[in-house]
């Protein structure tokens, strides 16, 4: 059996990839997908822990997280479409009407 640590290292890698994607990408769609990768990294970790600890509740949490991710996709894509309608671009640098 593959030790649980391997899964956790993989999920940590995925999470970091997601974080880097959100920070350096300038395209809203890619930023959005990166956030989904972060959520799925968490899913992988929950699943691995659940199997390792022989608990069932982790399996249910994964379904809850998938539901949340779906709802987030609905809202997020709607917002991205609204931005595209307004400025014909999905570039994060275009969000510059307000500056601190």
């Amino acid at each position: 059996m593959v030790p649980v640590d391997y899964y956790i290292i993989l999920s940590a890698f995925l999470f970091v990839i997601g974080v880097i994607g959100v920070i350096i990408s300038r395209n809203l769609i890619i930023m959005f997908i990166s956030i989904e990768i972060m959520l799925n990294a968490a899913n992988l970790a929950i699943m691995a822990f659940s199997r390792h600890l022989k608990l069932m509740d982790g399996h249910v949490f994964v379904f809850l997280v998938m539901t949340v991710a779906a709802a987030e996709a609905a809202v997020g894509l709607a917002i991205i479409i609204a931005i595209f309608r307004g400025r014909e671009s999905v570039d994060a640098d275009a969000l510059n009407l307000m500056k601190w």
Binding site: V4, I8, S11, F15, G18, V22, L28, M31, F32, I35, M38, L39, A41, A42, N43, A45, I46, A48, F49, S50, H52, L53, L55, D57, G58, F61, L64, V65, V68, A71, E72, V75, G76, A78, I79, I80, A82, I83, G86, R87, L95, L97, M98, K99, W100
Partner: protein, 484 residues
């Protein structure tokens, strides 16, 4: 193993249920009627019914849904804050929305769903349910921020809020996953019990998980260094929405943070205390210093809300019972006076046609003396002058922190409050001592009946908490000792 009979307990989720039912009725009734007044009226009724259920379940300790939902005085006090904020936000919304042609029923439904999410968030001692509540709270807020669909600023604010919020949620979720791995449970009391005897590796998972959960909440309550999105989001969103989410999600975040770090991570709280100390200090300082430079009152209030998040973090740093009751009192007081300040901002904005610049306050005292007196009251309360609610909020919070031995943090917080006086006095100066520009139209700002009710509630709340703080403090104290 909990009894199966204890699984379903409708009584303890009645307040949430009422709001959700009303939200769906509003959505369903929307196409059937042309009367625009129905949706705000229904939402107000729902808020009042929900308030009734909160009041009748006071002092009744109950759990349900396999211990995933708890009903203690702590969560009931928080629910009171959310309902007051939601109700007053609905009251101030209608005129504002009608003037911009966005008076759609979905607005009220989204606000109710978001409030229900906050209630779920504070009334659970299970990390997973807290996460779900946080998402139910956040999703409608992302949409509400961009409710002025044709306004580019509003959509930009919505996008920034969405990306920051979703990013933060992912951190929170990963933290929960690690805590689950470290302790084998997501229930806060069981985390507390197992964290004392955990193995070294589990302890590592627990610490990293707690840190990531803290990052997630720091985004939500706009703590330094995760505060950059706040001014932009607050400026672009419709003003009643800004009023709503400068108070309610912050209160929900602080309440959940208190519950998580007091109960679940009680064993590691000592290690996190220095971190909270630094976060509290930097959050209030950055908020106050940046607020000094703002000419836009809405943006100034956004930075001021960051500073208030800093004051609230003092309570999390202190971590004693008095600090928790102080934080609850402060949140209720903050709900009243911040909502009041925004109500006046909305009245002025309705008149000026969308501008929040400080110049729009010029000469308000000669045109509408009462409104400027109220403005002064709210600003004094925000700054923390007696005899307003803001003074006692700060007083209880700071004295609890001194009791916990955080003398230097309190000294810095008091200095911060002094800085904040400067910018809170600027709108008052503009209203009372500046003359309006020549081309300024001299019409009186119109105070509609619903806004007037909201003003009445916020003013009486601000004054009552300032003159008779003892009763509410007693309620707040009784909420702490009954945390499940």
């Amino acid at each position: 193993m909990p009894q199966l009979t204890a699984a379903i307990n409708l009584k303890i989720i009645m307040p949430e249920l009422m709001l959700l039912v009303a939200a769906f009725i509003i959505l369903l009734a929307a196409p059937l009627t042309r009367k625009r007044i129905i949706s705000p009226a229904l939402s107000l009724i729902a808020v009042m019914v929900s308030l009734y259920f909160v009041i009748v379940s006071w002092n009744q300790q109950e759990t349900g849904y396999f211990d995933m939902v708890v009903c203690d005085n702590f969560c009931l006090f928080c629910k009171l804050i959310f309902l007051l904020t939601c109700g007053t936000a609905v009251l101030v919304s209608r005129d504002y929305l009608a003037r911009r042609g966005i008076d759609r029923p979905e607005y009220y439904a989204l606000m109710l769903i978001s409030t229900a999410g906050m209630m779920v968030m504070v009334s659970s001692s299970n990390l997973m349910v807290i996460f779900l509540g946080l998402e139910i709270m956040s999703m409608p807020l992302y949409v509400l921020a961009g409710f002025m669909r044709s306004n580019l600023k509003s959509i930009e604010s919505s996008a920034k809020y969405f990306f920051m919020g979703a990013f933060a949620s992912a951190f929170l979720l990963y933290g929960i996953a690690l805590v689950y791995g470290g302790t084998g449970t997501t229930d806060l009391r069981q985390i507390f019990m197992s964290s004392g005897i955990a193995l070294q590796k589990s302890q590592l998972y627990l610490m990293i998980g707690a840190a990531m959960i803290l990052i997630g909440f720091a985004f939500k309550i706009a703590s330094f260094p995760f505060h950059m999105w706040v001014p932009d989001v607050y400026e672009g969103a419709p003003t009643p929405v800004t009023a709503f989410f400068s108070i309610a999600p912050k209160a929900a975040g602080v309440a959940a943070l208190l519950r998580i770090f007091m109960i679940g991570f009680g064993t590691v709280h000592a290690e996190f205390a220095p971190l909270f100390w630094i976060l509290a200090f930097l959050t209030m300082t950055v908020g106050n210093l940046l607020a000094l430079m703002q000419d836009n009152v809405k943006r100034m209030l956004a930075y001021s809300s960051i500073a208030h998040a800093g004051y609230l973090l003092i309570a999390v740093t202190a971590g004693i019972d008095e600090a928790i009751s102080g934080a609850l009192f402060y949140l209720l007081a903050y709900g009243f006076f911040n909502m009041g300040a925004f109500a006046i901002l909305i009245i002025i904005e309705n008149k000026s046609g969308g501008s929040n610049h400080i110049d729009t306050f010029k000469g308000l005292a000669s045109r509408h003396p009462w409104l400027s007196v109220f403005l002064a009251l709210f600003m004094f309360s925000l700054a923390g002058f007696p005899p307003t609610a803001g003074f006692f909020g700060k007083f209880y919070l700071f004295s609890a922190a001194i009791k916990a031995g955080l003398v230097w943090l309190v000294v810095l917080a008091v200095m911060n409050s002094l800085i904040s006086v400067f910018y809170y006095l600027r709108p008052i100066k503009a209203a009372f001592f500046d003359h309006p520009d020549e081309d300024e139209d001299i019409r009186k700002p119109v105070v509609g009946p619903m806004v007037a009710v909201a003003l009445f509630i916020t003013i009486s709340g601000t004054l009552l908490l300032g003159i008779f703080p003892g009763y509410i403090l007693k309620l707040a104290t009784s909420s702490v000792f009954m945390i499940l």
